[in-house]
């Protein structure tokens, strides 16, 4: 990162190569839009390059800092697209359509597994979409990206205790949404 701070583009290329998959996946899980996630990830890395000098290694890890940039950007976009996100997920629910992501992942499976997988992914996406932003961020970072509480706290700007509390609520909400989706509500 220090090399990037000095404008070393080769180092920046390595940094992108190293972090692109987790960042793109974080953004995908956060926005639930694959194309948008890639676009945002590119913007994230461009910002990282532009603002590299503002990174202070004494205040945290580079990974966490990049996640912070990504989360802020994704949150801003999510705010704009909040209703679209909901509408899209509702639309998918109503029509039971396969999204491109479903299709991509179902190609290798047998039809029954593919259908099950499709349904599960649809439920997961739908449940994620229904989580409030601050819960979704913590849920995705902790549960899916498997960051530590400390790192997540640095990304979202709160204490570990708050992360723990939000994660607990996020998980419970997620569970309820999943139950609701599969029709096994208590």
């Amino acid at each position: 990162m220090s090399a990037v701070q000095n404008g070393d583009r080769e180092s920046f290329g390595r940094l992108v190569a190293r972090h692109k998959v987790p960042i793109v996946n974080f953004l995908y899980r956060y926005t639930l839009d694959r194309d948008l996630a890639e676009d945002l990830a590119q913007e994230v890395f461009l910002r990282v390059f532009r603002e590299a000098r503002s990174f202070d290694p004494l205040r945290g890890k580079a990974t966490t800092w990049i996640y912070t940039v990504a989360r802020n950007l994704a949150r801003d976009v999510a705010r704009r697209k909040k209703f679209e996100l909901k509408a899209n997920s509702a639309f998918c629910e109503r029509r039971g359509r396969l999204t491109p992501a479903d299709m991509a992942t179902s190609l290798d499976d047998d039809p029954v597994s593919a259908l099950e997988r499709k349904e599960t992914m649809k439920a997961v996406r739908s449940s994620l979409a229904r989580l409030p932003e601050k819960y979704r961020a913590v849920f995705v970072l902790c549960e899916l990206q498997e960051l530590s509480y400390q790192d997540v706290g640095a990304v979202v700007g709160c204490s570990e205790k708050t992360v723990s509390s939000r994660l607990s609520r996020a998980r419970d909400r997620f569970r309820r949404e999943m139950e609701h989706f599969v029709g096994t509500r208590r």
């Binding site: 404008g7 603002e51 940039v69 991509a104 997961v124 700007g157 609520r169």
Partner: protein
């Protein structure tokens, strides 16, 4: 739900992450061994989390890195870190920097000059003004250079074509709450300003007014506001964004007089005045198509906070009448009730609040709030459930009314709640301090430490901190005397409450409010 179950479920998450302390782990193991419901719930949670990992892993496209590298600024460019010394991105979840913030000041000055010019009705030749935010450099404040703006014609030539627009700007400058961008945005739309933006653009050619991309017009320029504006504007693509800041002080110390004068001079546009500067409820209002339920609802809320309670009640009533199946139905009813109360129309308020089922109300001693008198409020829990925790759940506002009639040590919010709803309430209270109801509750009772389910699973019991943690807190004493840990302490609490209830058969109901407005008897 039993208190032990409630505690156990709060520990599910750290249990899964193996972050429990020895004592808590022992409690969980013991509880899960004996409680089928909690064990089942934990299994359900585990299953859901396992399923979450079904979400596919996305691989970036093949050209991903190449596109990024191609988009890097050229060597030596202002954005090149090798050259730049700016510090624009913050850590720990803070928002990005303020690279164009100084230009807000320029925009402020320009807009203020416009308004001043308007007020004195003078023909001001326009001075160098703000640069479009799109054109700003990124290499720190020092390198920013204002872009001269050429203005053709006189200001008032243009102003005459957009009087209502400036009237609206001026009114907002004086009256707008300082942190409610979205509300102002909605107001501008509702006020019909949009068609006049072309005229505004002619007046301030350096500023882009583009309603297609969520134009943001914002006024006043306090530090808090600047931060907020900066965050909000930066949260969107810069292109097409506009921030117009008008320093209130430029308009004179008595902005209300200014507004009055403006209103008298140009009475062709609406001026909504927030008479008491009341904090508006938080909301995420977005632009909506005209003449639909959302629009009516927003207009109702605008009118409410402008002090036009009659108009507000009409809007909410119309919203429900014309769109009976709207998702805003409950909220509209609630606000209709609030508006009617503000008008002193209790009967209409009762009707509007009828959605809470069998609850009956009476006015509190001040005559401004409904005090809920009946514990059967099943619908209310649904209301809370359906509200966004960030938007100020209306259910909690009703709780505020209840809080007035509670005694000073322990009060019982008497309403039917399901366990889920209760958790939602706790969640709201803990995670959304900005939510109006909870905030008001906190104002009333800053000592509140806990809201939890009562022993009969049909009450929310709120216990003051001093009752537990204070030096002389009665439950603290009990705990010390009996050597109880917190789990046991809570159990003890419930035992005490049960004893209290036995002592007072009607303890589950809120204490009566004395007709003369005095505080109820302290049951403790």
């Amino acid at each position: 739900m039993k208190p032990r179950c409630f505690l156990a479920r709060r520990l599910f998450s750290p249990w899964l992450d193996d972050r429990l302390e020895q004592k808590e782990r022992g409690f969980m193991e013991d509880h899960l061994a004996h409680c089928q419901a909690c064990a089942e719930r934990l299994r359900s949670l585990r299953g859901a989390l396992d399923q979450a990992r079904f979400l596919e892993v996305v691989e970036p496209g093949s050209g991903f890195e190449a596109e990024i590298l191609a988009a890097l600024p050229p060597v030596g460019h202002a954005d090149d870190p090798a050259r730049s010394g700016s510090s624009a991105l913050a850590f720990r979840g803070e928002r990005q920097g303020v690279r164009w913030l100084p230009h807000l000041g320029l925009a402020t000055a320009t807009a203020a000059a416009l308004l001043v010019g308007f007020l004195v009705r003078d023909f001001l030749p326009f001075a160098p003004g703000p640069a479009n935010v799109e054109t700003l450099g990124t290499d720190g404040f020092a390198s920013l250079t204002p872009t001269p703006v050429e203005v053709r014609g006189s200001v008032t030539d243009h102003l005459n074509r957009s009087q209502a627009a400036f009237l609206q700007l001026a009114s907002l400058a004086g009256q707008a709450p300082r942190d409610e961008l979205h509300i102002i945005q909605s107001e501008l739309e509702l006020s019909g300003l949009r068609p006049r933006t072309a005229a505004l653009r002619r007046v301030v050619p350096a500023v882009e007014f583009d309603w297609k991309n969520d134009v943001l017009v914002y006024l006043d320029a306090t530090k808090v506001l600047l931060d907020r504006v900066e965050r909000t504007v930066r949260s969107r693509p810069v292109s097409g964004e506009t921030v117009v800041l008008v320093r209130q002080e430029v308009l004179g110390s008595n902005i209300l007089d200014t507004i009055d004068a403006l209103q008298r001079s140009f009475a062709d546009g609406p001026v909504w005045v927030t008479a008491d500067g009341k904090q508006r409820p938080e909301g995420r209002w977005t632009r909506v198509a005209p003449d639909d339920d959302v629009n009516l609802f927003l207009e109702g809320k605008n009118r409410y906070y402008a002090g036009d309670f009659v108009g507000a009640a009409q809007c909410f009533e119309e919203c429900n009448r014309r769109f009976p199946r709207s998702w805003l139905g409950r909220d509209a009813s609630f606000w209709q009730g609030q508006s009617a109360l503000q008008c002193g129309n209790v009967s209409e308020a009762r009707g509007a609040f009828s959605f809470v089922g069998k609850a009956t109300f009476r006015l509190d001693p001040l005559g401004r709030k409904l005090v809920q008198r009946n514990r059967e409020m099943g619908a209310l829990s649904f209301e809370v459930k359906s509200s966004s925790s960030d938007a100020g759940p209306s259910g909690c506002m009703l709780l505020t009314g209840e809080a007035d009639c509670l005694d000073t040590n322990t009060f019982v919010i008497a309403m039917e709640v399901e366990s889920n709803d209760f958790e939602q309430l706790v969640e709201v209270s803990a995670s959304a301090p900005a939510a109006m109801g909870i905030r008001r509750m906190a104002d009333y009772f800053p000592q509140l430490v806990e809201i939890r389910l009562g022993p009969d699973a049909k009450e929310l019991v709120v216990i003051r901190r001093s009752a537990i943690a204070g030096k002389n807190g009665r439950f603290r004493k009990v705990a010390e005397k009996e050597g109880l840990d917190i789990v046991r302490l809570l159990e003890t609490l419930s035992v005490h409450e049960q004893k209290d209830e036995k002592a007072q058969p009607d303890a589950g109901h809120p204490p009566e409010v004395n007709p003369d407005g005095g505080r109820p008897d302290d049951r403790r």
